[in-house]
Symmetry: C2
């Protein structure tokens, strides 16, 4: 495809090329000149752990609107392996100290922060200051205050911000959202969501260290369960009560093992979630006046599976969720489509996380939530 | 089949006739002489409401080891309709005042009490005093104290006692119990059980009147959810926390509308239940180390439906659950088979119900339970 410059862009758009990969209206803060056109946005992954290695990097080989262009790692060994495997030029490789030099690198448009939770805010803010668009892995941060700081930094720098909620881009979750919106079974009455896996590996992992993770099961799988009751009903909850359970305190010295929570919605619907590092379960069940819908699995990397009352199977072709997610965010940047996972959504979930921990601290007390439509993207 | 008397009974037994319908070892308290043999035990239904009309009476047309022989009703109109429809002789028709005369009626062996919950204890005790075996509809009573009184009355009268938990006799529930026992998927980690329906009919119904029902959703569908976590794990819980939700206080003036509760088990497994009169849901989900099992519906009158991880469908021929239940109890009486739903099971569930109400009253506090293996029948 012949490169398109700013002058020809409007014309091309009117010719129906909006869906192809091109760069338009990129803020100058991005570090590239507007007339310099790329087919795909360059993504730098910050933190090369399991998720980057087995999910994000392979997904970025399949994306249409962005590609793996840079890495940020504290490990010289990973630097070498990744640079070779993904053909990443030396100038696109950073460590945590020299990361801020990324401001001068026009090859990087998006910084995806995949570090332990407590480091999200720092690196997201630095990425924004460097003029890069930001994807912050979930949970967005370890506090609402940090979420606010990230959002403000991105606004100030005029860069786009998203959170690593990959499910909003994949069709099973979109079908759940469609049911919540169109209500083919009538009013939604109850959503049950369980997001948990049994952890028994390395007790030194950062997820078990509150300083790094900010919390246990709730901060890890729990946010998926919270998301489930919200997109399962199409509403934010108006209150939450929560309970904590501990059966392996030797392993979970520092973080929550199992949490249940109940949500009230203004329509009278109830949400009931469980999240745990001591059980294998991954389910979303939405029941309405005249029928129900179920995903199981509901929020792992897929293939997901679903069905409704009346024996209907919910079935879509499987694609890497992260591929869809990063392409959606790239289209938001490139073509001005809706940001389906804005920073506000991550902040809203952190408000709920903090309310859940508060409820537990106060013996299961009902914590009112005043979220309005915060983070709801229809 | 030629009648069998006491002298020929042992011989017939050794010839393999134990599975046929016969009467042996009936206590004299039953009102019949031991040598007078019946093919089927006579059942009297006390209370001719919806459940008797549409479930129990039709089931008693299909039972092998018992049959509808008598009725107890306060309605002369129902007397007439039932007597005609089911060919019930005048001497087997009672009202609530003359009910105790049933002591002299050898046609009645079992009294099934299907009255509003608050009347269970009174009529079960009177039935026991009349020397009749007793089936008490669930929930067993409105307090543990009443459960104890029923159990003691039956022990004193040397009559058998069961509770109307029809599911223990049907194959889907038995399959859940088999999984809990044999653990083909390894240790059970989590059971989620939701038992609820949306009630909007007659606001004058007894279920909405605490004096008659003893409570709302929890006393009605809730005991199924409690049962589910117990037979789903094969264990009694060691603690419970609970929460209550209200969205239609005008309709639920007097009884609980929606309750959630969480159970701990000594193995570390967790149970999470929801019961409601404001949602349609009827599910049991059991997850273990290596797989899961699900029934949906799990506890309505069927046909039930189930599946496991790995895509296996759980499928059994459908029969009326109440037919199986009443035949099982009759076999217990006639042939000394295990009483799979003893009075203790109903009492245990009432202990849990009281603990749930207590937890709610105390703001969601954890209530310890010391049940041992009470009511567990393997």
């Amino acid at each position: 495809m012949k490169p398109i410059n700013r002058r020809t862009f409007s014309k091309k758009l009117s010719q129906g090329l909006a869906g192809t990969a091109l760069v338009a209206g990129m803020p100058l803060a991005c570090g590239m000149q507007n007339d310099k056109i790329k087919k795909k946005l360059g993504v730098a992954l910050v933190g090369l752990g399991t998720y980057s290695t087995y999910e994000l990097a392979p997904s970025l080989q399949e994306t249409k609107h962005c590609q793996l262009a840079g890495i940020v790692t504290g490990s010289p060994e990973k630097e070498k392996v990744w640079a070779e495997k993904y053909n990443i030029p030396k100038e696109n490789v950073y460590n945590y100290e020299n990361f801020d030099r990324i401001v001068n690198n026009p090859a990087i448009d998006i910084v995806y922060v995949v570090l332990p939770n407590s480091m999200h805010a720092d690196f997201c803010i630095r990425a924004a200051k460097a003029g890069k668009h930001v994807i912050c892995e979930k949970p967005m941060a370890v506090s609402v205050t940090e979420c606010d700081a990230i959002i403000q930094a991105c606004e100030k720098a005029n860069v786009k911000l998203s959170v690593g909620y990959r499910l909003h881009s994949e069709p099973y979750t979109q079908e759940v959202k469609r049911y919540a919106k169109e209500k083919p079974f009538g009013a939604i009455q109850y959503v049950s969501a369980d997001a948990a896996y049994f952890s028994r590996s390395n007790p030194e992992q950062w997820r078990l260290n509150r300083k790094l993770s900010g919390g246990g099961a709730l901060m890890n799988m729990g946010v998926y369960a919270i998301q489930s009751v919200i997109y399962g009903t199409g509403m934010n909850p108006i209150s939450v009560k929560a309970q904590e359970f501990s059966t392996r305190p030797d392993y979970f010295k520092d973080t929550d093992e199992t949490i249940t929570a109940q949500f009230e919605f203004e329509t009278g619907a109830i949400g009931n979630i469980m999240t745990s590092h001591s059980a294998n379960i991954n389910r979303l069940f939405v029941t309405s006046e005249k029928g129900w819908l179920e995903l199981n699995p509901a929020n792992n990397y897929g293939p997901l599976s679903g069905r409704t009352s009346g024996g209907k199977e919910i079935k879509f072709p499987h694609e890497r969720q992260q591929k869809l997610q990063m392409d959606d965010f790239s289209k938001h940047i490139l073509m001005g489509t809706t940001n389906i996972v804005p920073g506000e959504m991550g902040k809203r979930d952190m408000i709920i996380v903090e309310a859940i921990y508060q409820s537990i601290k106060e013996g299961g007390k009902t914590i009112p939530l005043d979220l309005g439509t915060m983070g709801i993207v229809s």
